[in-house]
């Protein structure tokens, strides 16, 4: 058994999840591939969204995959970092916006 929870080479084996449930695995990958095709949003925009989400959910496989994907598409490191700040802003904002709840509670309880 490996000594760490994550192994970068496991990313290459992602497709193997279908081995234990062919039907659902295939449906998932078909859906996944459809999602990233050009639509109302470009493939480039979707790649940046994926990179930001990857950091939000802190998935090391996804970070590896969408950093590489971005480089292949000619996305610059400045664009990548800006996308991450969007993720950071929403995460930070999500904590801070609950401050209103805290303030409501304090205002209710304090004399």
């Amino acid at each position: 058994m490996q000594k760490t929870y994550y192994d970068p080479s496991d990313l290459k084996k992602f497709g193997k999840i279908s081995d234990w449930n062919e039907e659902l695995g295939s449906k998932f990958f078909e859906y996944y591939n459809s999602v990233f095709k050009e639509g109302a949003l470009s493939e480039r925009e979707k790649s940046l969204i994926a990179l930001a989400v990857a950091h939000t959910i802190q998935c090391p496989y996804c970070i590896d995959a969408y950093t590489g994907d971005g480089l292949q598409r000619g996305i610059t490191k400045e664009e990548m970092m800006e996308a991450l700040h969007v993720a950071g802003a929403i995460r930070g904002g999500a904590s801070l916006v609950h401050g209103v709840q805290m303030m409501n509670k304090v205002n209710k309880l304090e004399m």
């Binding site: 590489g68 292949q72 610059t76």
Partner: protein, 351 residues
């Protein structure tokens, strides 16, 4: 930034035999990855055979004004290999009798060969359909004696193909050297000013994109769209087509892959992206590469690895179509670079 060629630095990777050993050892020797030969055999594509010659690519010398990090030629100002006028004449004799529709001059910076202009003038008289010069752009701004190159190209109806790794200064200069981006932009503006690359212009100007690191090129059409928009919006520059070319794991790019500990991952990425459809149209099947000293190779990469054609005709002076057509192409693991994804050739994607 690299300042000297691997040859000048006496690097072990200046030795083509050492490069071929690396490409055959390790992950390919222990069976983690299939050799290129075994991979193409799976789809009955071994041996790869040369078809009718369509493109004659001539490397007129390894001297260059730049020392790009990824250069598969290991070109630079310190390289002295230069094609002589005598060898050029032998090439002209072949160009006259061959049915190839494209003549493709490359280097180094081909313009640095002292007989470059004579060769272009003579070759343009032969009436070849597509006459390409691979210009690195900065040479046009490197010295006053080159400032008139755009006019010279126009006069001889040369199709200019130029390298441009990105539409931003940072990524371009990191790969090709400080100041390369600004000089390239100025050169492209000069070319546009006399009609090169303009919509519907017969003066063809194409750009070559190759990744600035250990990753594969993305979709050629999507990259072309991004390049066109950025270069037009930021600098008013226009061009015709973008060729997305994969970096092959040889010479300075191999040196970079090993030094940055990316070699194995890069080879895995190439093998995973292997596309049998790209094998069908791989450029070595319709191209012949001529070295500065007149020897014949299946492609410019094999030239740098010193893997000569598998034919009785080894030199341009011995050129005979019947001896070369149908020859078995010489392959090694670097060939995965031309068969990954949409495939890669000096003319961009092939699949």
């Amino acid at each position: 930034m690299t300042q000297k060629s691997l040859h000048k630095r006496h690097s072990e990777l200046a030795n083509s035999k050492r490069q071929l050993e690396i490409l055959s050892n390790g992950i390919f020797q222990n069976g983690d990855l299939p050799t290129f030969k075994n991979k193409i055999a799976e789809t009955n594509q071994f041996p790869l055979k040369a078809k009718k010659l369509e493109i004659l690519q001539i490397n007129v010398g390894y001297m260059c004004n730049q020392v790009c990090e990824h250069c598969h030629v290991d070109a630079g100002p310190d390289r002295k290999e230069i094609m002589t006028r005598e060898t050029m004449q032998q090439c002209l004799d072949v160009i006259e009798k061959t049915g190839a529709h494209t003549l493709d001059l490359t280097g180094g910076a081909p313009e640095m060969n002292p007989d470059f202009r004579w060769f272009v003038e003579e070759a343009s008289k032969v009436g070849i359909k597509d006459f390409i010069v691979r210009s690195n752009l900065t040479i046009i701004r490197a010295n006053k004696k080159y400032y008139d190159l755009p006019e010279f190209f126009k006069k001889h109806n040369v199709h200019v193909v130029s390298s441009m790794p990105h539409w931003t200064r940072g990524k371009t200069d990191k790969q090709r050297g400080d100041g390369v981006f600004d000089k390239s932009i100025k050169a492209l503006q000069d070319l546009n000013a006399i009609g090169y690359g303009m919509p519907n212009s017969n003066l063809k100007l194409d750009l070559v994109y190759n990744p600035s690191g250990a990753f594969l090129p993305g979709n050629q059409a999507a990259l072309e769209k991004d390049f066109k928009k950025a270069l037009l919006d930021d600098f008013g520059i226009q061009f015709h087509n973008l060729f997305a070319i994969t970096n092959l794991p040889i010479s300075r790019f191999l040196d970079y892959l090993i030094a940055s500990e990316n070699y194995e991952d890069y080879m895995y990425a190439l093998v995973e992206a292997y596309n049998p459809a790209a094998v069908t149209n791989v450029m070595c099947t319709n191209t012949l590469s001529v070295s500065w000293d007149g020897y014949l190779y299946d492609c410019d990469f094999n030239q740098m690895l010193e893997l000569p054609v598998n034919s009785k005709a080894k030199h341009i002076s011995e050129y005979k179509e019947q001896l070369l057509e149908g020859r078995n192409i010489v392959i090694s693991q670097h060939c995965y670079g031309c068969t990954a994804g949409a495939g890669s050739s000096c003319q961009g994607s092939v699949a």
